[in-house]
Symmetry: C2
Subunit: 203 residues, 2 copies
Amino acid sequence: MAYKENYPSELLSTAVEAISSLPGVGRRSALRLALHLLRQSPDRVHHITDSINNLRDNVCYCSRCRMISDSDICSICADTKRDQGTICVVESVRDVMSIEATGQYHGVYHVLGGIISPIAGTGPSDLTISELVARVPQAHEVILALPGDVEGETTAFYIYRQIESSGVTVSSLARGLGFGDALEYADSITLGRSIVNRQIFKP
Amino acid sequence: MAYKENYPSELLSTAVEAISSLPGVGRRSALRLALHLLRQSPDRVHHITDSINNLRDNVCYCSRCRMISDSDICSICADTKRDQGTICVVESVRDVMSIEATGQYHGVYHVLGGIISPIAGTGPSDLTISELVARVPQAHEVILALPGDVEGETTAFYIYRQIESSGVTVSSLARGLGFGDALEYADSITLGRSIVNRQIFKP
């Protein structure tokens, strides 16, 4: 083979290596992206890399809810039409975007920045739990919108213990059959909870 | 919705927009990549963007064969152990890498930088055909290793017309059944060519 590690150029090899470090991007895709970028104008390529550098270097987080924001207080926390006394606790920025996309929630959020996970080495002090506890006296309800797995339930239980003495209402997301789900394909834990937590039929 | 275009931050929105301009990257993947980059150290993110900028800004092409190279003459053209009189004509840099990976070719290359395509608006003058014609007097064989579609055959025919008078041997890639292909699943054009161009059996 004439090429060092099969690449005709050190520049190309370095770029492919770097691009393939992204999640879900293999070496073949990375090469395809690198060769695509070589066919674009330098201005266009710089626009992409500048926007990434700009995001990483200048990103701000809301000082109240820890959501990504362009200002010290995010647009949700600053919105006086929203119920500032209801705090929805989520794992990540992505979850806030998912809940906002439903258009069904009118309170505010608190982004933990992760979940308690002994395996991943994430403990309560790595999350924004103390900041949440400090917000609770101004709230009337805390919604724990955490994943439905063991780590999510552990985190929810830990937070509950921290805030139960404040007398705030603590709720969690409804669990049950998804919209359009068939009973025969539901797992038995989900179906079991759907029966135990059945609701009055409102036609 | 509290967010402009569903993104909590202008910086995030700009980065997602830019990343999703890449081929095969939708807006969901772009958001996932942007949030992944936010969780990496600034140094790591800068390494990725620097390597891309560096590739785009400093890439060189071999002045002889137009392959990506770190120097004026690429490692293949500079290799005196290779047959400099056999020129394999390919569409793109990617094709050189594919042929090199076979380990079966010991001549040199000529990268056209595209293919003649009236639909895409690519004509002969957009390709490195005149540079190829200038190299032919020093060659004894030109291999047309172009795609097996209409555009590839048009390009091959155009090049053949340009160089046939020089008396150089002009060959093209063998077409036929792929290794491991079953006859019943081969398309009839491929199978027909395999019969017409049958070879003496050498056990």
